[in-house]
């Protein structure tokens, strides 16, 4: 009897030790994709932003390794779901959320509750920025590692690959973000320019047709050098500049002409200020402008910012 008890005790002790050792040795545990994130929800490192219906926003968080849904009024996350890696680009349709995973080099597909459905076909070196056009059913993926835009249907069927016009202003140099203009059927690309060669060519916003034909470019040579996420509404183009800590506004005067139309925000941590802004979203009805202020760890809202004349 005593032997059996001792045996049981030994087994139990061994099990406890093994569990303890496994816990200690578990290296840098990551959450599975789609797993809900426990604890209080506070943004850490917001990167890209997109609309979720009319009441919510979706944001990728590079620090939390998550995608979070935020209330547009409070700007507080209401829920987050885990990404198994560093999330970058994000885009949403009525029933799907696409997320670019920098660590796994994938475009992951989630349902509206954050449950992972599948991966889109292909691998992507740095899937830094995504956009969708519901009218055409197209998903646009900017891979800043390979300097290409991949266009897929929502089902994952390949449509085309855009590498930039090989001539002059249309050539991709260091593209970092994209947006689409569904009305004009155009793709807008932020490009740092050649940082290794005294910014020659300089930073630019490049505009292409959906077919990949170069239309025009806005040069940053006298106004910006680190353009990041952008957004189009009507004739207005909104571009974040990560270094200046501002949103730059441009107006389309014609298909090939643009003009500077002002700025939003200033560099800093305070209200109305931006520190490493990486993406921008304009609410088409309220004209409120939402910006991911990455180093400040929050979303900054500029009420009616889209109405600046």
């Amino acid at each position: 009897m005593q032997d059996r008890t001792t045996k049981h005790l030994r087994s139990a002790a061994l099990a406890i030790v093994l569990v303890g050792v496994a816990f200690v040795l578990a290296p840098c545990r990551e959450r599975n994709s789609g797993e809900s994130v426990p604890g209080s929800l506070v943004l850490d490192s917001p990167v890209r932003i997109t609309a979720r219906g009319t009441a919510s926003l979706l944001v990728t968080d590079y620090g939390l390794n998550s995608a979070c849904e935020l209330d547009r009024v409070s700007l507080v996350p209401t829920s987050c779901f885990a990404i198994a890696g560093k999330p970058l680009g994000i885009a949403a349709t009525a029933d799907r959320i696409f997320v670019g995973n920098e660590t796994l080099h994938t475009i992951e597909v989630y349902d509206r509750n954050g449950v992972k459905l599948s991966d889109m076909p292909g691998t992507f070196s740095i899937p830094t920025s995504l956009a969708v056009d519901d009218a055409t059913g197209l998903l646009f993926i900017l891979d800043s590692g390979t300097r290409t835009i991949t266009v897929l249907t929502y089902a994952g069927d390949p449509v085309r690959t855009i590498t930039g016009d090989a001539a002059g202003n249309g050539m991709f140099v260091n593209p970092v973000a994209l947006a689409v203009d569904p009305v004009r059927q155009e793709i807008l690309v932020s490009d740092y320019g050649n940082v290794n060669s005294s910014f020659s060519p300089p930073a630019r916003i490049r505009i292409y047709t959906y077919a990949g034909v170069f239309v025009t470019a806005i040069s940053g040579s006298s106004g910006f050098s680190r353009p990041q996420g952008l957004c189009v509404t009507g004739d207005r183009i909104f571009v974040t500049d990560g270094w200046l800590g501002q949103v730059l506004l441009f107006t389309r005067l014609s298909s090939t002409q643009t003009a500077s139309a002002g700025t939003l925000g200033s560099y800093g941590d305070g209200p109305g200020q931006l520190k490493l802004p990486l993406d921008v979203l304009v609410d088409p009805s309220s004209k409120d402008v939402y910006v991911t202020s990455n180093s400040a760890g929050r979303i900054e809202r500029f009420e009616k910012g889209g109405l600046i004349p």
Binding site: P27, C28, G39, S40, V42, D44, S45, V47, R48, Y62, G63, L64, K86, L88, I126, T128, S129, S144, G145, N174, V176, A177, Y192, V195, N196, S197, S198, F199, G220, S221, S222, G223, F224, S225, R226, Q228, G229, D241, G242, W243, L244, G245, Y267, K275, L276, L278, N294, S295, G297
Partner: protein, 206 residues
């Protein structure tokens, strides 16, 4: 008299320029990816001329942060995420790095990864720490985890026997559980690659 002065003055000017350009602590871009125009703009171009650390931090992160063009991703060293109970702190880029150049270490080697925010009077890499004043920093190896020597790595616990805990992690640490700057520690991955678990992109936190 005038004839003699001209060569003498030319010599003085050339010597002065050579002195400025060749002194060990001169701002001098060594690595190809950090050319002057990356950060410093002339004649009205966008951005200020990096007059303070917060501006420099933002500039570093435009390439090394999320969405940036560099594959070497990083973030500031802090515990902003609420999962840790350690007192709040924040170490920005230039408190550890000199973006201009790799700097000589006091062990006669040269640091990697631009580690060494300031230099001693003899040109050796140092860091101005929060709790321990200005200290030497030696970072010549990324540790055994990357197939490199454990000596002069993130935290080598004085394996080199010089009586100074000067790895890039340990030279500042006074309140961490392991690898303090005033005592040896052989219990926690000495000489290994700290960033295998405490990644730079995750603020060096686990």
């Amino acid at each position: 008299m005038k004839r003699a002065l001209l060569p003498a003055m030319t010599l003085v000017v050339i010597s002065g320029l050579a002195l400025v350009l060749l002194r060990p602590s001169a701002a001098w871009p060594l690595i190809a990816s950090h050319q002057c125009s990356y950060c410093h703009n002339l004649h009205g171009a966008a951005g200020a001329a990096l007059t303070n650390n917060p501006q420099a931090e933002s500039l570093c992160l435009t390439c090394h942060g999320p969405g940036g063009i560099s594959v070497m991703k990083a973030n500031v060293h802090s515990n902003k995420t609420p999962k840790t109970s350690f007192p709040a702190f924040r170490v920005t880029c230039r408190q550890c790095h000199d973006p201009h150049d790799n700097v000589a270490s006091w062990t006669t080697g040269t640091n990697i990864k631009l580690v060494g925010a300031v230099t001693s009077s003899r040109g050796y890499a140092q860091i101005v720490t929060t709790n321990s004043g200005t200290r030497y920093v030696v970072f010549q190896s990324r540790g055994t985890g990357t197939g490199q020597p454990s000596l002069h790595s993130f935290a080598d616990s004085d394996q080199d026997g010089n009586g100074y805990y000067d790895g890039v992690c340990e030279t500042c640490h006074t309140q961490t559980k392991y690898h303090l700057n005033n005592a040896p520690d052989t219990k926690h991955h000495t000489g290994d690659t700290c960033t295998s678990c405490h990644a730079h992109v995750d603020r060096f936190m686990k």
